[in-house]
Symmetry: C2
Subunit: 415 residues, 2 copies
């Protein structure tokens, strides 16, 4: 094939126009929590673009929207080749997270139309309801319902952080559709997304071929010791919850150092009681975030944390209570699709590497029912969930061109 490329400026302009909906003044970012008025306006805008592209728009019972494109000669009985993502944001979101994957899909359809490419399979561009989970838990709710991983009624009954019912909010934005859940199974699902981490930028790599999503284990530990005077209490008589919290924090680092590989671990939250300079803390509450691409390794990390807590609770005469806040198994993407991403990127002259996703994405839900993978492009400074999130026009165009080639190829396209 000769020069067959998306129009980067057109994609960039659509990203800019969509970012105006719920724009955060003085920033590049947007605030569009799922099923708010702003999310509704953004949905209307994207649907209007789908219709301009003569796509067939369907809305399902949880509000997922699928725009289907059939070219001349497309066999409507074949499963669609699907790309997409989400257009809801966190409260102070950026303009690329999610939106890029949806609008790159539209750009691909427009390119295919303009280049008069014939495809055997339909091409579907989807955006899923409530991916961020910032208003309705869990995150990736829409795509989870789409693949049958969550019962529709349970999802509709979900209550928001402010007490609103999901089904009411869905109706109020006009996106309570009739297409059934679970939805049709695509031939493949491929999602373009910003990395939301620093790896591609720091290594100077254009395209990430995402082969897996980390499993996540969040634990809250509550340590009960004894409040004591920091001057009058000998070290040997202390039951210092603050020290134990510090020691667990350093243990998490030792654990990731020892396990290496994909194992990461973070203690991001620590609260001491009474939290005074001259009082030995009676209580500490802390979180441990452990992630790995291997379920076996993640379990090992969890087990070692439990063992360590048992040891130190005996040694320091404190009680440690543990509660799981979240637990997701790792997801392996389709290796053939991942290889295609690498190969296509190289063919187009881009540098590439295989990598794992540290965050959750709709593609991991679709991976339950069809071959799925993701394409990552760099995030400036690794920033995301932040109005300052940024990926350049060239970087975005690179990702969209890789997406284009693989989608067209999977759809059996020829010119």
């Amino acid at each position: 094939m000769g020069k067959f490329r998306i129009n980067g400026n057109r994609l960039w302009d659509r990203l800019d126009e969509l970012a105006q909906v719920g724009a955060i003044p003085g920033t590049l970012g947007s605030s569009r929590l799922a099923l708010t008025k702003e999310d509704g306006q953004a949905r209307d805008l994207v649907v209007s673009w789908m219709r301009q592209l003569e796509m067939e728009v369907s809305i399902d019972q949880i509000g997922n929207v699928i725009g289907l494109w059939h070219g001349k000669g497309t066999d409507r009985n074949l499963p669609p080749v699907m790309t997409g993502s989400h257009i809801d944001t966190v409260r102070s979101g950026g303009r690329f997270d999610g939106n890029l994957g949806v609008l790159a899909g539209l750009e691909i359809v427009q390119t295919v139309k303009e280049q008069k490419v014939l495809t055997e399979h339909p091409v579907a561009v989807s955006f899923f309801t409530g991916e961020e989970g910032a208003r309705f838990a869990p995150d990736m709710l829409g795509s989870l319902v789409y693949v049958g991983g969550l019962d529709l009624q349970t999802a509709l009954d979900t209550i928001s952080v402010n007490g609103e019912k999901l089904s009411d909010e869905l109706k109020s934005v006009g996106y309570s559709g009739t297409a059934p859940c679970p939805g049709i199974t695509p031939k493949i699902f491929l999602e373009l997304h910003i990395e939301q981490g620093p790896v591609l930028e720091s290594e100077g790599i254009d395209i990430g071929a995402v082969e897996s999503v980390q499993g996540i284990s969040w634990t809250e530990l509550t340590i009960e010791g004894q409040s004591n005077h920091a001057g009058t209490t000998p070290m040997t008589m202390r039951r210092d919850a603050g020290y134990v919290a510090g020691r667990i924090s350093t243990f998490v680092r030792e654990l990731t150092d020892q396990m290496g590989g994909a194992q990461v671990g973070t203690v991001g939250k620590v609260d001491l009681t009474p939290n005074l300079v001259n009082v030995v803390a009676s209580k500490a509450s802390m979180t441990v975030d452990l992630r790995n691409t291997s379920e076996a390794m993640l379990r090992e990390a969890e087990d070692r944390l439990v063992t360590f807590c048992e040891e130190i609770s005996r040694k320091e005469s404190v009680k440690i209570a543990s509660e799981s806040l979240a637990r997701f198994e790792p997801v392996e993407f389709n290796q053939d699709l991942v290889s295609q991403i690498s190969t296509t990127a190289k063919n187009l002259g881009y540098t590439t590497r295989q990598m794992t996703s540290g965050a959750g994405h709709d593609a991991q839900m679709l991976a339950r029912v069809c071959p799925a993978a993701m394409i990552f492009v760099p995030s400036k400074g690794g920033l995301s969930h932040n109005p300052a999130e940024y990926t350049s026009l060239e970087e975005i165009s690179a990702g969209a061109n890789v997406l284009l080639d693989i989608i067209v190829n999977a759809a059996g396209g020829c010119r």
Copy 2:
């Protein structure tokens, strides 16, 4: 000498009556912040007791109160033998901290009077203004001014935590006196106090002969790292302020383990930003409380903390800013007086040990101008600065009897 003992029940009743002033309902404790209405009422009550005992009451310019007892044959030109403490409390205080030392002094005077003991030196019972520092900083303010360690005018200009001026509050309770500051230098100063720590109780010892007060070094460390996604940021690319805070906390424990002896160290306060489960902390603010009875050792501990912070800030690519919140050198009490406490306690049949004070006391200020020491009695559970603070009648009587013997002896008493 035959049986020559204080009346424990009378002392206990006075402690109880004084505790009713500013009583915290449903507890044994009191709330009498310095120079509040409650402190004023408590002052009036103790002064009324001094007058009942025919003591000569003087009030100095910072509000310290000294009751002077002269027996028949006392030489008014000789310096007084002084005992005392304070009657202000923290916001939620106990009934023993400070009050015991003052009321035991009155009990000694009453005993001496009843037993018709002749003393060569006058006996002085003092209570000093604002020992707790809970309303006006620094703590031990009154005794510091008494020994000339703080300029009177500076002290009078002190502003409370709520913005009131000390001189105004002193006048409003009626204790802006005329006796000069610095005040007269006693022959000796001996203070009876509860331990406020667990050592005596846990070792089953009646009397602590306090030979020193720990030096105190409080440092606030502010660690600046970089906020990052807990999933997408490789361990090697993190600048994790939360981990560094944890590592400094464990370093403090390593330091006290290695230095041993009297070295104690506490990280009682840690605040992470943004303090979320899935975000690497961009900032941590924490305190380090180091104490030792040796100034050289305390400096060594401080130096090692500085060195460690430099090392870890390089290793983890974070910035660490350090600010001193408080610094007091250790105080050595008069060894002869300390020996007298031990000997007297043994002679009276009490178990005793020499020990250090982990908290600050008025006696350490008096130690600047005259031989001084302290007698400790056990604190149940090591509790203090707490309405549940408790020391039994027997334990209090033991301490007061040791105090009686040494004061009478120092005053050249004979029967």
